[in-house]
Structure formats: structure tokens, C-alpha cells
Amino acid sequence: MVKNQVKTQKAGFLRRLRRWIKPIVFIGIIVIIVGGGYLYHTAKGVEYQFNRSHRWDIPSKIFSDAAYYYPGIDIEKVRLKQKLLRLAYRDTGTEIKGPGDYSITPERIDIYLHDFDYPMQEFKGFPVRLTLEGNIVKEIVRIDEAPTPLSSLKLEPELVAAIFGDAMEDRTLVTLKEVPQHLLEAIIVVEDERFFKHGGVDLIAIARAAFKDIIELRIVQGGSTLTQQLVKNYFLTSKRSFLRKLEEAVIALLLEAKHTKADILEAYVNEIYLGQRGSSSVSGVGEAAKLYFAKNVDQLTLGESALLAGMIRAPYRYNPFTNIESAGERRDFVLGKLYKSRLITKDEYNNALAEPIITPKRATKTNMAPYFIDFVKMQLADLYSDDLLGKEGLRIFTTLNMTDQLIAERVVKSEISRLEKDFASILPKDHEGMLEGALVSIQPQTGYVRAMVGGRSYLTTQFNHITQAMRQPGSTFKPFVYLTAFDPARTSNLYAPTTMIDDTSFTVKSGGEDWSPQNYDKQEHGRVSLRTALTNSYNVATAKLALNIGLDSVLKTARDSGITSDLLAVPSMALGAFEVTPMEMAAAYTIFPNNGILARPISIINVVTKEGEILEKKHMEMKRVFDPQPVYLANSILKDVIDRGTGASARAYGFSGIAGGKTGTTSNYKDSWFVGFTPNYLALAWVGYDDNTPTNMSGARAALPIWAKFMKEVVGDSREDFSSPRGILLVKIDPATGLLSSPGCPEGKFEPFIEGTEPNESCLNVRR
């Protein structure tokens, strides 16, 4: 009976079990199909993403121009020390050992130049010595194996900005070969000792970690392999959950099944997160080596490698910029592990322990030359897609001079604040928008844009007043009228700076209405020379001159100078009553210091792929648009503007060099301008309100101080004068009549003339 009962119970159990077998098998099949599909899909996705060509987004980088130094240069004037700091050279005290080191004494500066990939040239750094006498460089010598004097020294371009993809990751790709052996060993020894023994997931490490966690009753040790860390960073999020951990393990196993350890390790060293630089994350040892040590990864010492490996666990806690002690302890810990693992000798261990941690000065300014960078990005956007720019690691070399740029930013900011304070009584009260200012500088011979400040504060407004604001140039246009008059090829009458003109009011019809220009002082000045009229910016005389020579001729001069904005041949054009951008005006003015040659403004010189292929190359381009002789005549007056005319207060602001220039004040004081130039350098400053509210300040009061203070720092007291072309004579003239001087006319002054156009009549004929 008992036997029957057992038999019955068994049968019942089997019956119940049979009832569940079908659904269990069915569910099992579904799980296998779904799981298999998931694995297949995941494997495909992993393979696609891990494919070399799709691996990482490399941001494009925008560089300044290189800087040149030579015997005779004043290192204080060119701010060499600040340049070295910006280039992340490290002050090592007395001795320089490797790329990126420098040391300064009163007698010399030693610099171990960085390696740098220029377009078409890979530069290998070497040590140089600049011997000093006070602040003047006496000699530059290469001080490696065979000391060699150098005629000049080129410091590499500065990294100004980067263009990131959506991930905002800053990265310098490295190959495994480039990574020092010590660094790889340190990473493995600290993060995954059994890297070469497991297949992606290390159960022993997981068990050991779990045991330690249980003992300590908290998470003290992770059990993730390098492969799992790579998967977490590369494929997944850092979200902590069982499912995510499972997914991570599956992908790690798939990765190891398909790829070599070398492949995985190389991906790891390029992916691992190692800190922040502003809003972008620093990913990979290549970029981290640059950030923390200002070196290429293959230049890292044993101690530096150990620190970098140690930082992986907690980049913020072990950041040598902010926590030097913790960084040192962590480095020593890693060195200890390396020694215990017999990967380094005792001597290497002790030497590395004794090595000081030297970091470059950390850049405090993260947003450099923002208006210029925006201007460059706008041009790049016309040439390349966002995807290409954000992901393919292009290198863009520009004309920016960072030393000049920083001076320009400081001067614009401080001067606008000063104007608001000093002239609060005349500025409009409670005006909604802020007073704005801008400055641009160009090397006129080459067309290189050297500095650009598009507004007083990029944080407040990104509107670039240099390239985007359409403003009336006012009196800054007048020199083009006089240039036209002096050019025999453009006007049928002969004019010279000594030609007399009546600065007396007149009225003409313009657009069906009466038009009568007025001088700023509301006065008429009678019969004056063209020199006097332009030096003092007389509106009436200028407008009269423009009408005499023909407005179409003046318009052609403007076009030949590169002004492309809308212009009409109306009388008010002579007084700058049309709109241009300050950039256009600055570019047009380059014909003055450049003897009538127009150099095309350039801001981008080269665009290079990460493989070194040159995509874009811009050369200097120049073209003669005016004969040099009339330009010389115009320049002789523009020099007077600064020496004794409306721009004379430039001297009071400390600028003592030889220069020409022109103030500009539009009607009702809506715009204040000053454009000025030496033979080698041109700068334009502008001040105004965005809504065209009058500032009640003239060009001399508002814009000129910005120009003068900038030029004083950048150019100094340069005594280099403008070159004189052939075909110019200086003839002694009576200023009162514009005719030949004679003993009977007491005041005589040498004035320039195009040969053959000088007067032949004596002043006595008129004075008698």
C-alpha cells in the first residue's frame, strides 16, 4: 500500500512536472533566441564602434601664429616669459633636461624646445640658450652636442581653442608604441594585474574584491578589468546597476574574443578619463601628458608615468595642480607596486621617488581670443561640416599673435571702463545697453590679422563689432578723398597737400534736397591748404574737394581699396555717411602704410588633417592698387594728424613712435573711431552703442586712447619712417599761398610733390 502511495505520488509529481516542461522549454527557447539576437546585435555594434576608423572623436584645434625671436630683441617688450608660460614650458630652476623645460637667470634663458608638427615639417625640440644683456638678447645658441649660433628662434604656435564634438572630449591619439613601457606596466599593475591572464572578466579579481568589501563592510576595491573599464567608458554609461554590470561583462568578453590584448590596451590608454580642462574632459594619456606635464606621452619620466597611472582611479583627488601632496603619495604608491612586481630596479625606484613633480603653470584663461576664434570658426563652417570639425582632429593655424591679442583685450576692457567713469557726466544716463568698444590690428604688408577684440566682454555679448557691426566711418573716410585728389591717374586737376581750398559753406542738391556740410566746430576757416583741411578734419573743405574731383572717382578709390559695402556717389559719401564694418575699414587703410599695395586680410594660414595632409593653404597675396607717389602725399598729412592734428593727443597717452592716422566721429557722436599705422603695423579702434545712441564723445576722446595705449605696448617708440618712392620732390613752399617760397614770404616749409606737379609761381605774385 505504501509502495502504491509512493508510486501514485511520483506519478502525480511527474504529471505536474510534465505540465511545466512545455512552458519552460518554450521560455528557454525564447531566451536563447532573444539572448542570441542580443549577443549578435551587440557584437556587431561593438565591432562597428570599435573599428579603428570610428573609434574616437578628436577635436579640431586652432593655433596662433608662431613667434620669432632674434639677437637684439627686448624680451620684456615681447613678453617672452609670459609666452613660455602660455606654451606650458616648465620652470625647472637651474637645469633643463628635456622638452618643455626652461630656466631663467639674469644672464641667460635656457629653453628646451617642444617637439611640434608644423604643416609640412616635423620639428624635433632641442635646447637653446639666449644670452642676455639686461633685457636684450645678445646671442642665441643651440646647446646640445655641438653648440651652434642661431640667427633666430621660432617658438611654436599656441593652442588657442578646440572645436569639440558632442562628447566634449579632448584627446590626443597615441599608438601603443608611443606610450612608455613604464606607463603601460604601471597601469596594468595598478588597475588590472591579471590583464594578460583573463578573457575580459576576471572572476578571481571579482571574488577578491567582494571578499574585501565584505570584510570592510563597504566597497573598497573594484573588480573590473581594464577591458571592463574600457567598455564602461566607451560603450556604456557609468550608471551602477546589476543589468549594466552584466552588459559590461558580456561586451568585455565579446571584445576580448575578437581583439588582441594590444588592441584593447591601446584603446584603453586613449579612452581613459583623466580630468577636466574647463568644460571639456581630458581623455587618454596623450592629452593628459600635455595637460599635467606639458610633454608628449613618449617624453614622460618613470615618476610622471607612475603618477598618471595612479590618477586613473581618481583624477580629481590626485590632480597635481590642486593636490600636490596626494599626487605625490599616489605616485609613490604606484612606484612601490612597480618595484614589488620587479618591473623596475631599486635604483630606478629610488630615483623616481626623489624626482620632484613639476607641472606647467595652469592656464587660468580658458576662453582665449573668443571673437577671433568665432571669426575663424565662421570661415571654417563654410569649408567643413560640424562633424568633420568636431571629430576628425583638424589642426588650424592662424595669424593670431597672442601677445598682441592679450594686450588688446586688456586695453579695450580697461579703457571702456575708464571712459564710463571719467565721462559719466556726458554719457547718456541710464542707458540700457553697455558702451561698447572694439579693436583690430593687421600687419599691413602681409595682411595678417594679429589681434581682434570684438567687444568689451564676450560673456556679455558674442556680437563681433569688428566683423559684424555696420557703422558709419565718418571722418576716417576722408583720407580716401584726398588720396584721389593727389593721384594724377584719377583726377584731371592737379592737387597737392599745398593746394588751397575754401573752407566756406556751400549748398548742393543731393537726392532732390539741399545738402550743406558743417564743420564740427561750426566755424568756417577761409582759405586753407588741403594739408590743413585734412589734418584738422574740416568737413566743408573735404566735401568741396570731393565734388571738385568727382564723386565717381572717390567711389572708385574706395572700391580699389577693398571697400565692398554699399556706397553711393553722393556728396555725403565724402564725409563717411555710409556703413562699413570696422574690419573693412582697417583692411582698406592698409594701402597707406603699404605704399598703395593692398594685401588681402588673412586670418587662417593652414588647415591640416591629423595625418598631416594640408587641406587649406593661404599665402600672402598683394596687388598694387595705387601709385606710391599719391599715397606718400596722403601719408605725409596723416602723420601730421598725429603730430599736430586731431590725433595729437596720442602723444599724451604715451605713444611716441612715427605713425599716421585719422580720427573719425560720425554725426551726433554715434561712432568714435581711430585708425592709425606705423610702417609695419596698423590698428583700428571703435567705440559706440549698439543702438546708435550718441556717446557725445569724439574719436579723439574715446577711440584714440584705446589705439594709443595698445600701440604703445605693441610697437613702442619705433622711429622707423615710411619709405619714400621715386618721383617725389620736396619743394620749399609758402604755407599761406601754397606757392614757391621766397625771401619775401617769411615762412617757408618743404612740402612733398609728385615730380613735375610742383608750382612754378612765386608767393610774391599773390602776396604783392
Binding site: Y68, Y70, P444, H619, R624, S723, S742, E758, E761, L764
Partner: protein, 164 residues
């Protein structure tokens, strides 16, 4: 007899005076003179501006630029035009008033087949070297070569008009 001699002397004096007066009117030695009002001559004080400042100026930038030009010339002679181009551009950046650097930059661009650009840069060289006769000759010669190259490649009417 005496009367005849006196007449001859007077005639000779008159002729000589006229000849001298004619000579003055056509600008002989000394400053040119003009007949002023009421028959008076007017002297014109004339001088040339200081020229050649940039042909011979010695400055740290100029010395460094000159050395750079020497390096560039080596690359040019070796036919490494792209390298030479980079060097001459650097020479110009270091000293933007070194006319010789512009000359070689123009020559390099001509060698690279960039004729129009070469002419523009040659204009710049000319403006800086206008007082140096030997360089002006070289510039004229190079300009001629560029124009010939242009003609060989393009119809004459398409030739850009360089400065005289």
C-alpha cells in the same frame, strides 16, 4: 676804324648777353629758375626726400630676416620651392620691410607657377627697393620673365598690369 671796332665789340657783347639769357631759361646748372612777375626769375628750393632707408637699415629684425633669406636661397637653389616659400614668408613676417625678402618670395612663387601672385609681391619688393639700382634691375628682369611666362600660357590681353 675805331667806330667799326666799337660796333663789333658792342655786337659781340649783345650776342653774348642774349646767349646767356637763353641758357638760363632752359635749366642749366644749379636750381631751376623761372621768370617771375615783371621779368624777375624765381628760385625753387628743391631736395629729395631721404631715400633708401629700408635698403640699408640695420635692425635686429632686419639681420634675422637677412639670415632667413640666405637660408631660403639655399632651398630655392636646390629646387625645394615649397620649403623656400615657407622660409621667405617667415623672413617677411620677421621684417615686413625687407624688400629683398619680397623679391625672393616673388621669385619662388614664380617658380611655383603662381605668376599673378608673384607680380603682386614683386610690386611690394619694388616699393621697398626703389633706391637700389641693382635690385631695380633684378626686379625689372624678373617681371619680364613672369610676363613672358604669362604670355606663353595666356593671351597677352589677359596679362595683369604691373606698376611701371
Amino acid at each position: 676804324m675805331l667806330k667799326r671796332q666799337a660796333l663789333i665789340i658792342l655786337l659781340l657783347f649783345f650776342v653774348t648777353s642774349c646767349a646767356t639769357w637763353e641758357g638760363r631759361g632752359h635749366g642749366g646748372k644749379g636750381a631751376p629758375q623761372q621768370r617771375g612777375g615783371a621779368g624777375k626769375t624765381v628760385s625753387k628750393e628743391v631736395k629729395k626726400p631721404e631715400e633708401g632707408q629700408f635698403a640699408v637699415v640695420s635692425s635686429p629684425a632686419r639681420s634675422a630676416s637677412i639670415d632667413m633669406v640666405a637660408k631660403g636661397k639655399q632651398s630655392l637653389a636646390a629646387g625645394k620651392y615649397e620649403k623656400a616659400l615657407g622660409i621667405f614668408q617667415e623672413a617677411v613676417i620677421i621684417d615686413s620691410t625687407n624688400g629683398v625678402a619680397y623679391y625672393y618670395l616673388a621669385k619662388t612663387r614664380f617658380n611655383l607657377g603662381q605668376n599673378e601672385e608673384a607680380l603682386g609681391i614683386l610690386d611690394k619688393a619694388e616699393s621697398l627697393l626703389s633706391s637700389a639700382d641693382e635690385w631695380m634691375e633684378a626686379i625689372t628682369l624678373l617681371r619680364q620673365q613672369i610676363k613672358e611666362a604669362y604670355i606663353a600660357g595666356f593671351p597677352t590681353q589677359d596679362l595683369p598690369q604691373a606698376a611701371p
